[in-house]
Symmetry: D2
Subunit: 234 residues, 4 copies
């Protein structure tokens, strides 16, 4: 999230194309302290406003145990990011909420580690954990991360928790998002988490992996076709 206008335009586009929820980053954990860090509480205000306008439930990342209460006032669901997958204090604080938590797999985490991280939330009494595959760290440099779709059927064997796939962070390039989203659906994912920006070339972060709204609409149609073929409802 960069501004109300940018968020509103993006939200209206994804709503029209069939999105079910609206994720926007107010607190952006960036590798460098000198990169854009997000709008903070101002971002949360924007998210809540645009969520109300569109009716799309708001999801946003929380990066510190001390922020859980504040963020809870603005969002319908939390995201615990890949860098914080083993920030156990944060997970425990999220476990004391009852709102859904999207828990992203860390870049060096085995599926086993992800499932154990989820236990930190579950053990505090919050059963609403949604796992998210978003790419692991490997030697391959053609993609930003290596989206590990194998994790989807592996998790389905071992856990009852729903699984999302994030092909935007998982690949790092918008050209790869639609093919990998379709693959995610075909191998059993329960949903797709994807970055869309109303003007990707001017995005303050992750522009290279953000879909243009038209691309998102095309992808959604393709996903619906595959979903129908395999007996899933979108």
């Amino acid at each position: 999230m960069e501004s109300t206008d940018q968020m509103r335009r993006t939200a209206q586009a994804v709503l029209a194309a069939g999105a079910h929820a609206l994720r926007g980053g107010a607190y952006k954990p960036r590798t460098s302290p000198y990169s854009f860090q997000g709008l903070g509480e101002e971002g949360l205000e924007i998210l809540r406003e645009v969520s109300k306008e569109t009716g799309l439930p708001a999801v946003t990342e929380v990066v510190d145990a001390g922020d859980v209460k504040l963020v809870s006032d603005y969002a319908a669901a939390f995201q615990a990011g890949a860098r914080n997958m083993q920030n156990f204090r944060l997970l425990q604080a999220l476990g004391r909420s009852r709102k859904p938590v999207i828990l992203k797999r860390g870049p060096a985490a085995k599926v086993e580690d992800l499932l154990l991280a989820a236990e930190y939330i579950l053990a505090e009494g919050n059963p609403n954990v949604i796992l998210c595959e978003r790419g692991i760290t490997t030697f391959e440099t053609a993609t930003r991360n290596t989206l590990d779709l194998n994790a989807v059927p592996v998790i389905k064997q071992r856990s009852h928790l729903p699984v999302l796939v994030d092909p935007s962070h998982g690949t790092g390039f918008r050209e790869l998002v639609a093919p990998m989203a379709k693959a995610a659906l075909a191998c059993g994912a329960d949903g797709i988490l994807v970055e869309v920006h109303c003007d990707p070339p001017h995005a303050l972060s992750d522009g290279r992996q953000s879909l243009f709204p038209e691309q998102f609409a095309v992808m959604m149609r393709e996903l619906r076709t595959i979903a129908a073929a395999i007996g899933k409802v979108m």
Copy 2:
């Protein structure tokens, strides 16, 4: 390949389910010299015989430049295995043939390295190279390798060569083969290379990742449904 009977039963099953070619390993490159090493030339005889009976073209791995001529007498297409992806003498010898070569990606090879390995074959004059993603080496231990489906759309951007996916070696577990085969199709693969055995629990190698014939038949039906939905012909 373990015997004529085992090969014949397997071939008839996959033919009935819609397979287009028959791959059998006569020379098996195994991590340990004390594991089953394949039947060698006897295996090639079996492959040729069962290929004739079923009409399925025979594909088999060749592991040394010195074997190319011999293997050429028995098979319609070659496989250059993952361990030999940078056995450049072998690739050059295959480049002097005109039969198709399935070139498998090495476990530590970037897509870039795979494309450059293909150049060793192409540069000798053989244009019939088929690339195959079969899993890369990562830290994840829930799967034998990490099948990297991202490679499929990445290769499609950079090369005109067809791409197969091998979810058997790529995952190492038969339960994961069908989901990943469907994902491969959905993200653009041109074909699937899969291990089937008429009696997997008694296979001499790779039994854990080999499909039962019935599983293969079910998977083929599912693949046909997805193929139809995305406008592909199988």
Copy 3:
């Protein structure tokens, strides 16, 4: 840290062998919530007491931005653990302290990422950052992590910050600690961070990688010999 007695016996042993500081874990970030989680504030009390008795400065891990003040009352220096290398709120809170911070490299972090994580501390005004190589995640399973000693000379080229090496977590096996500690010294490390337990077979965590006190003493003598040969003072 498990008890005052265990800590005291261990501290006296390492003091006698020439250790310069005493690290003990009060808050243990564990992969599973069902593993021993550390003694918490009781552990901090023990650490402070044993530190006073032995004169060894106390170092301990802090796992949440909200704990920095509390831990500061007990310890002379902080450790930011590998799992928290990109817990930027924690790093910023440590940056507002003036006590030294040992920042451990995350298991999937490039050297570049580690240096940028250090910037989160430095940018808040705390110049006392000590980097620590402790093993990265790779495919190799003979060691728990792959201690990446290459990082030592790479960091020395790019930064003025001191570098420690932790061969205990880096390898996961006590037999490998002394050889890798010597190697760390030989390639330019400024210090070694190592796990010692007065009774490793009965340790509540990380016993397999903890040195027996006698092993630590032998290792310290060997390190002194090499240090003398390469003109370093220990």
Copy 4:
């Protein structure tokens, strides 16, 4: 090897600094077919000639089972390269020789895989196998490969075979060669395999990782100091 003159000048420099053997590449396995591929048999002639002049035993890489006899006429010892660590036909052919074989670890090979590859040579009757750590493939890009020195003490626990370390390929940068060579010695390596070129900036391959002759001489003095301190003879 690029020419007799280049080889002679390099050989005289390393001889003067205390090298024990002379490795030169006549057959260079390169990622791309369009890179310099080595001088072939002409290179073997140069190697034999310079070896005779200097008295340094000649070591060279063999890349195909069909070349073993030819190369045997020119060299005192063979190298089986990292890309061919699982070219089992080549290993078996080397096992039927009696000359020493330096077997380099593949970039995705576990120590276990390396030891099993060595078995292919040993099982044919050649006991003269020397293992060589030369870097594994990881996500880190600050080095060309990640030299895994942990492999040295791990191999020492599991095998009686001698272990060399190649910090040139292992790191890819000449600035890192001396620190890592010293570390290799300190953790138990039996020898160092290192690239030196009389004029690195004009080398036809691997120039960035080749030492200047003066650097090699300085490194050898440093290694001798450490060797003396730890009771080893060089």
